[in-house]
Assembly symmetry: C2
Homo-oligomer: 601 residues x 2
Amino acid sequence: MASKFVSERNIKFMLYEVFDVESLTKYAYYQDHNRKTFDMVLKAAIKLAKDLLRPVFEEMDRKQPELVDGEVKVHSAVGKMMKEFGQGGWITSRVPFELNGEQLPHLVADVCDFIFQAANYSGHAYAGLTAGAAHLIESFASKELYDTYVPNMYTGNWQGTMALTEPEAGSSLADITTMAEPTDKGYYLIKGQNIFISAGDHDGVENVVHLMLAKIHGAPAGVKGISLFVVPKKRLTQNGKLISNDVVVSGVYHKLGYRGCPIVQLSLGDGNDCRGWLVGEPHQGLRYMFQMMNEARIAVGMGATCMATAAYYASLEYAKTRRQGRKISQKDPTLPPIPIIEHADVKRMLLFQRAVVEGSLSIIMQCSKYVDLMKILPDAEKEKYHLLLEILTPIAKSYPAETGILSISQGLQCLGGSGYCDDYPLEQYFRDARIHPIHEGTTGIQAMDLLGRKVIMQNGQAFMHYVAELQEAISVAKTFRELEDHAQQLKEALNRLQEVTQHLLEIAQSKGPESFLADAVLYLESFGIITIAWQWLLQGIAIQKALKNEVKKADLNFYQGKMFALHYFYGYELPKTLGLAHRLMNNDELTVKMSTAYFSD
Amino acid sequence: MASKFVSERNIKFMLYEVFDVESLTKYAYYQDHNRKTFDMVLKAAIKLAKDLLRPVFEEMDRKQPELVDGEVKVHSAVGKMMKEFGQGGWITSRVPFELNGEQLPHLVADVCDFIFQAANYSGHAYAGLTAGAAHLIESFASKELYDTYVPNMYTGNWQGTMALTEPEAGSSLADITTMAEPTDKGYYLIKGQNIFISAGDHDGVENVVHLMLAKIHGAPAGVKGISLFVVPKKRLTQNGKLISNDVVVSGVYHKLGYRGCPIVQLSLGDGNDCRGWLVGEPHQGLRYMFQMMNEARIAVGMGATCMATAAYYASLEYAKTRRQGRKISQKDPTLPPIPIIEHADVKRMLLFQRAVVEGSLSIIMQCSKYVDLMKILPDAEKEKYHLLLEILTPIAKSYPAETGILSISQGLQCLGGSGYCDDYPLEQYFRDARIHPIHEGTTGIQAMDLLGRKVIMQNGQAFMHYVAELQEAISVAKTFRELEDHAQQLKEALNRLQEVTQHLLEIAQSKGPESFLADAVLYLESFGIITIAWQWLLQGIAIQKALKNEVKKADLNFYQGKMFALHYFYGYELPKTLGLAHRLMNNDELTVKMSTAYFSD
């Protein structure tokens, strides 16, 4: 098993040099923290990841969850992990002091999750889902609901879930049919089917708390009639005893990967005794759920980044130790073989991975920083960061999800035949990572969200903020000789993106929404590459600032390596936007015109 | 389980309309065949695929081969398949009449393999490897060796393998250390280790015949000292009894996919009693092996095409039946949901798959046709096709291998969460297909073969033939109004490829071979896309010719669908060469200059 799964050096570079997390501690909300406490938190996270999560990474995959006597049996480590995450304050890392949380900046809390998920994505999923579900209750539910559920979730005794997929309502939430019948006892009677519920049942916790979408009898059709409920697996009696709440696990999926965490099917109210408690107002469920959903989308991007990161270090380790072949210019077969990392093509594959994973981490942390700024800035200044978060969420989800798979695939390729075998972790990462373009909104959904909602929202205000952020980075980068060319490249790419956007908006006018959105996935891809190029430029600026001072040899190698990854991104990745723009400027409506009948043979 | 795994309509279109296989029957060698016999053969292949191969496609994956008491246990269907492939004449389909074969054109025999592999790749691998190994013996070994081994291989009683990978010699064959000690009894004593041997041992056959590389004691270092041997698992005594030949199975790999066929580790001569028989001349082993290797490389491209083809039909079937969401322009939630195939983005994913799989099949069949032409043309005309095959082999291997994975991934994406679960076959295709960029020479090896050998061989003669073939297709296409634009696009892309090639040759001169080959994989990718664009243009020409006559409604839909796939390829895929060319015209030697020390953190 590869030993390294994250780079502590890179994490600190990102936290302190690129995103300057220390600057947040000047504000009242984060004033109790400082670099020392952050370093301690990071150290503790790495220790926990190494001691508890990493050792069972493979085992949790090999012994996948099974449904036994109506309950999902998971690896015995899961219960321990939930307790550790609860007791260690990891589930409550972002929760305010006043609610007994750690009130850590998102930047720091998110980096800790990055460490946990790089060690064992499935292992952390339980806690991550619980934190999200608890935050949803905290944000919108009554104090009574909060008191009943959240403390037990924060300790890791109870699992939280996000339950919004039904057999006939996957991407199309408008078609939800789970019903909620009001009673006069303060609860609703729930009836329906849920599918694809992550951690939807397991024996590692005492109870499972579903944050579930359903329609109150008589609600309007479509998404306007959706409400949000708390539906526990077991409900509390007045004596504080947990009894069954008529939530039946009707199946557990056998999956390509992500096997350490069960995904289940639920049948609700078969015995007419499934009780749900309304969160907030009726018919506002989708709006509430989207708080958790947006967090979950960025979390998916994070998860993809984590897997690709760990895969990168595994392939790097292999490439440094595996000897094979000789320099192309030195074919003498009597010379000893060289480590494969010395072959240019292997370096290309490693640089691709590094450019993707460190670029992906950067955009995730950029989002974390915006969340933090929204916490601490006065209301008038928040809106900008809110809009930036809105427009970047589909990117932060989909770029790491889509490119992470390619990155892992290149990592696997570095190992040749060994990469295909389960003696090395690459094949597992390759399987695990394939979930990310699917869950919490497919890439197609993200693309429509970006182009069909975010780019045009508030008269393009979010897009304008985005452009302004890039332009600012470009003008700073231009002051460093080493970055001048890249600043110019990004400027040209950004201009192209603006032209493409303008062109598509004209298509929307002249040909309607279907043609407008037909190639939204290509637009998303292009937007993603340009966004990561921006993030690399920000990293370049931090590197160049650091290099103005004298640095140690090890640091010099680190910075030089990062500069090569930056050059790689601009040399190999950014040019991909040329072909994408070429296609996007087209008017042929090819996919709109293609008829189903033509797919007949 | 999806029912359709190939399109008979498309197969016949390719065979009869694009590659005009009937024209081959005008030549003496193929004169005993005609369209009627071809159709019968195809029918029989489809029946065998449906009856024998397809039903166990999943089961062979779920119950993977295990090493039990020194022998690899495989699914019970394997023995039956080998017998059917032997008795049905499928192993000998390309073997001349005089050796009791069927003497079918490669075009037809290869299409039959396409059908088998689309039904169950692992299931056909046993027979495919046996045919290749037997062909190697037939081509280079003595009559005695032929008589001892080949008849039993042709009947499917004995398995053939290609054994050329060792623990310290994967991509670098120069480092082979398996030794062959001459004896005075006509055989050599073999000692060494082999790894990653497909079908290297199993209980579905009576014996296994390894075509194995080894070095005769005292041979020159490197590839010049490699000889080829027949090394059976069991050898025949003078009484015709099979006894152990000291070939020990030291392990079976547990793999990501391709699980229906075992890949094993062999230990040879631990008891100093492993006998091998020299094939042909000493030290000529690599040259001989490359006959089988080149066939195997195209076969890998074929296998990748097969998996992606079957995956395409599985996702198409799902997209036609799964209802979800509404037209973007009709969001009324009271309307019934539409089949997802009606969403433009789903059509885009399906068109991508179709463009890839039908383009990949086309380049494979183009190679088959060249092999056939080499069989029937006078020597003076053969050289051109030999060179075309040489330059197209790395493309025919790597384009389907690399793009097939992306195609399957898009197929999986069409199914959303269901695609990630093993209730549908997509997840298996996704695992199975990942082997193809690795076995029989990684994509990196193919790239160096293309740019470092094939493009420059015989003063660029192969490349010039390639350019001429494309130019011919372009000039024919220009005579059809529907193809004019695409002909022009291909012309421009070909010009760009020539410029890039010229640029790289100058780099070779000025900066040496390492810089020349550093981005060979990008060159291969670009070359591959342009090659498939050419193949689509050839298909376009066949379609336009057909449309000059009156056609039935079903045929019209078929041709129209193919035209859309053609437009898709030119609209979405060919533009990718813009970004690739942009990178390839660069001079920065980024990956050459990147130092290992920079990968330190």
